[in-house]
């Protein structure tokens, strides 16, 4: 890992700190209440706040997770560097794409 990846991973981690706290809070609240799809959606749909919240979350977690995955594959599973970059990018992009779909599903009107 070099400086660029390191910074990207740490910055995305820092961005996620409040997001994860909030996310955990929401989950605990939701689990205690026993949620249905309708309930989730009624809270989130059409909300610019939740759109931005989850949008930023998806981008950060994709960047962060992709770099993290790269590290683990390289160190623990000894992948070579070309494969590594390919997997990192693929994972990151797929994750952003899937995440975007999820966000739009949850927050779009």
């Amino acid at each position: 890992m070099d400086l660029r990846l390191y910074i990207a991973q740490r910055v995305s981690a820092m961005v996620m700190i409040p997001l994860v706290f909030a996310h955990l809070g929401v989950m605990i609240y939701a689990i205690q209440g026993g949620v249905s799809a309708g309930e989730i959606l009624s809270r989130t749909q059409g909300s610019v706040f939740w759109f931005l919240f989850y949008g930023v979350f998806v981008v950060s977690v994709s960047v962060h997770g992709a770099i993290g995955l790269r590290t683990i594959l390289s160190e623990t599973f000894r992948f070579r560097s070309l494969t590594l970059d390919a997997i990192m990018w693929t994972f990151g992009l797929v994750s952003i794409f899937m995440g975007a779909r999820a966000v739009s599903a949850v927050t779009w009107l």
Binding site: L24, A37, L41, V58, G68, L69, M98, A102, A105, W108
Partner: protein
């Protein structure tokens, strides 16, 4: 006596951080997939949410929450350790913040289960 150089807290913290990170990464696509069902097939999402009432699934879910908070706290610890200037005062503050966070979220979690 375990014959290894790894037998100390910092190494275990590292291992836990790595395992939790990996688990989260693997879980992420599944999580996104389930949520995007809301767009296409809301009834299947509902079905899924019912499914989560099953104890085994609930336990797995709990595991994820645990891993996420573990990873979060490990990450906080690392960020503090690496990036904060280390006058002893700062270090104490960082440690307090991290352990405060452990307490708060721990309480929440215990309530949740």
């Amino acid at each position: 006596m375990i014959k290894t150089h790894r037998n100390h807290p910092l190494w275990y913290a590292y291992a836990l951080h790595r395992i939790s990170g990996l688990a989260l990464v693997l879980f992420l696509p599944a999580h996104f997939y389930v949520l995007s069902l809301a767009l296409t097939q809301p009834e299947r999402l509902d079905g899924f949410l019912h499914w989560t009432e099953i104890p085994a699934v609930k336990f797995a879910e709990f595991g994820l929450v645990f891993l996420l908070s573990a990873h979060l706290l490990g990450g906080l610890r690392l960020l503090a350790l690496e990036l904060l200037p280390w006058s002893p005062k700062h270090k104490t503050l960082a440690a307090l913040a991290a352990s405060g966070a452990v307490l708060i979220s721990g309480t929440f979690l215990l309530n949740a289960v």
